[in-house]
Symmetry: C2
Subunit: 321 residues, 2 copies
């Protein structure tokens, strides 16, 4: 299977290494890579792990027209408010008859239903395991191991920056020092408000709801409250009484529709949701037949995000063959 990558940052480089390492067993070949900054690289025989970039293609359409590939791997940087430019990249790939895997939660959070429908019409596959929980089985868990079970809701602690900032404040550091720790770990942006105001969690909540609850929603429609209302003193007072605050994503199917929220919740220190620290994360799925079952991922990094893309491609191979 010939792959074209859009984007080649940390995840892209980890993905190229993984594909190279798995070559004895899986016939994936990266034949084209497009980046806005580094340029564009093509080689129908397969690009090396550190590809030689030439001039950048004028636009994605030109890149995809020239790249002779079977599947597109979309791993650009996200504009979280709209899902762009990843959304347009995916549509351009579908328009050219290419399967798509992405680690970008924006398109799934903003337009899953449309994208799934476009893919279906063209008999193409669309996979996105790495969009929530960095490659740990979530969507594939439901699709492949929970037959006939209906997901009725979910509860997750999915944002690393908020966990790290709260943990720092519990230890006597300031909020700003906590943000500094998260920034140095490479898990938050220069502007941490995307994480701390709950937008990252809202995007993941919308993505989960769109796929698992057929919600047809967007991050903007998720009830959202960040953790900025909690001062250092608040957090330390909670800690003194054996409690903590967590930014919790919830989705629930009710008689009146689907209710989605991201909110700080005050929990006992011993609560399962409070026991997932640092960059680890946890998602519980509330189902009709299998009760509440969940996935936990301990301190995932870019290698795991890359693995999620790889597992999606293997799944596409098995589906189409």
């Amino acid at each position: 299977m010939r792959l074209a990558l859009i984007g080649f940052g940390n995840v892209g480089r980890a993905f190229a290494r993984l594909i190279d390492q798995q070559r004895p067993n899986y016939l994936f070949r990266i034949v084209a890579i497009h980046t806005a900054r580094q340029g564009t690289a093509y080689d129908p025989a397969g690009l090396p792990v550190q590809p030689p970039f030439g001039p950048a293609a004028a636009n994605i359409e030109e890149f995809l027209d020239r790249a002779e590939c079977d599947a597109v791997v979309e791993i650009t940087t996200l504009n979280p408010e709209t899902g762009e430019p990843a959304l347009s990249h995916i549509r351009a790939a579908f328009a050219r008859g290419r399967h798509v895997v992405t680690a970008n939660k924006g398109p799934v959070a903003h337009a899953y239903s449309d994208l799934a429908s476009e893919a279906r019409k063209k008999r193409l596959q669309f996979r996105f395991e790495s969009t929530v929980m960095d490659g740990a089985p979530v969507f594939n868990l439901v699709r492949k191991t929970l037959p006939a079970a209906k997901v009725q809701g979910f509860t997750g602690v999915l944002n690393s920056t908020s966990k790290i900032v709260i943990a720092a404040m519990r230890e006597g550091k300031t909020r700003q020092e906590g943000i500094g720790i998260a920034f140095r770990l490479g898990i938050t942006e220069a502007d941490p408000s995307y994480d701390l105001d709950g937008w990252d969690s809202a995007a993941k909540t919308a993505a989960l709801a769109n796929v698992l609850l057929d919600a047809r929603t967007t991050p903007q429609q998720v009830e959202r409250e960040g953790i900025s209302g909690f001062t250092e003193d608040d957090v330390r007072e909670l800690a003194a009484s054996g409690k903590t605050v967590c930014l919790v994503s919830r989705g629930e199917t009710t008689g009146a529709g689907i209710r989605l929220s991201v909110r700080p919740e005050i929990l006992d220190d011993t609560d399962l949701l409070a026991s997932v620290h640092g960059t680890s994360n946890l998602l519980l799925l509330h189902t009709d037949l299998m009760g509440t079952v969940g996935t936990v991922s301990i301190a995932p990094g870019v290698e795991q995000t890359a693995y999620g893309l790889f597992s999606d491609l293997v799944d596409i191979l098995e589906t189409i063959s």
Copy 2:
């Protein structure tokens, strides 16, 4: 697919209800049920949820010879020391060309490699999702959602009775009162030593190791220490310092072979392993490509064990068709 059940206790009855409920979508039909106490029932057209039992077949061979089925569902009560009688039942089913699903951890803990090999030779399927974590995806998770990844070890808190007894002791109750609570919840036997001495965990550890680490081991070969060394005072002293004791199952692939253990570990109250309470359980898989990823199951019951059997049957259907 025509099913024959060996055993018809709480899990069997929940399974019969589930099969009945899923009939519109899944063509499973229970055509025979054998129990030692209630007798044996046959109906090629499909038995009702509450079957009319006739005289018991003289033995499993007679039962299986008469029951015209495609798959056998083994759900008898376990003799944990040997894996019998379930092990013989499964062999008798394979000998007659029937696929097997079981919720009985004994056969997988004692003889997985042989059973898998017998099944392979006869081109039959063998599934056992409900043997560890009551139906939550563990074995199917690895097989179906973690392509190319190698499980190198695992860490789990898999025994409910020990959790409930420790929790009771933390609250000021005696060990015996804790055992009473577990007994009334229906999760431990009249003799709780199987749970408290770590045999239940050792059987699950051996099952996991046999399947995921290719260990060819038995529960007797797992390094095993139960929680009976911890008195009420010990547990309360730990609690006062924010700590607790958990019965932890560990498997590890080392240069010198596979190391398996079940031991009480003293953990912070806020440790993820300590945050799984009551009948809930958690298993972390340590992999090469996907880092550490796990499954958590919240308060599963017989319905979830029944669902695990059902999910195995669906998987067999998909595999053979």
